[in-house]
Point group: C2
Chain length 157, copies 2
């Protein structure tokens, strides 16, 4: 078990693209925030991950690598639509940012995440980072499966 | 992934006890029959298991060994009460029977299971085996967590 301490931001600028993003496809065997069970195909790797409830920016996380074929089969057992995205990994001032450019029904949403050692850790924000969305439930990937970005009421609409 | 083909019976006689049963404690991160997610501590071993829906006596099963400490921590995330039992493993005519003598709120219930290679496989029944309960949902361990044996309406009551 690990404790995941993570802050999330919307992405505004353009300087974050890596040349080698990885295609992610994930679904949920449970979307309950108290016991989220995620199946993920990340490139050629499969994962089964359980997360507990989020407190502040922290969450208990149990992640296990599983055979890719198992992960693909488990995706077919998932509840609701799958979430697809391209993950870009970018270093900024010695820290590793993960930027998810969503696809499909969540296309247009781009979110940057960074894992921290503690909630109080100082963070140098890149200039392509916008509003902080840590803890905002509608941005949880598990909720994007149920209510995708395209169904949100966007101000421009 | 494996396909689990299993028949289940109530236990009536006494000839099934092994001298070295293993204590099992298990809970569910999802009890939905379409995507059951089980956490199990079996003696000194931990497991995370996903099962699909049962068709006849068959069910897709994905089982992963996980660290014992992870399994114990995951049990605290489970939905509803845990299921505890002593598992006895007994050989009968070259086949391996698993007999679960339930504890706690399911005490008094004893169920024998056998895994088969095919649904049509011939089976020699030991004399301590009673009525077949394959596919009877109330005997699923995931349902025994929600509605334990002691809350059933027993004829003797």
């Amino acid at each position: 078990m690990a404790t995941e301490i993570e802050r999330k931001f919307l992405v505004t600028g353009d300087g974050w693209q890596s040349t080698t993003p990885t295609y992610y496809c994930q679904g949920y065997l449970n979307r309950d925030k108290h016991r989220t069970v995620r199946v993920r195909v990340a490139g050629e790797h499969g994962f089964l991950t359980v997360k507990g409830i989020t407190t502040g920016a922290s969450r208990a996380e149990f992640e296990y690598g599983i055979p890719l074929d198992d992960a693909k089969a488990l995706l077919t057992l998932c509840d609701g639509p799958l979430v697809e995205k391209l993950r870009h990994v970018v270093e900024h001032k010695g820290m590793c940012w993960e930027i998810d450019a969503f696809l499909g029904d969540n296309e247009g949403l781009i979110v940057a995440e960074i894992e921290l050692e503690s909630e109080a850790q100082e963070l140098a924000l890149p200039d392509w980072v916008g509003a902080e969305i840590t803890g905002e439930a509608r941005y949880y990937n598990s909720n994007l499966a149920a209510v995708p970005y395209k169904h949100w009421g966007h101000p421009a609409e």
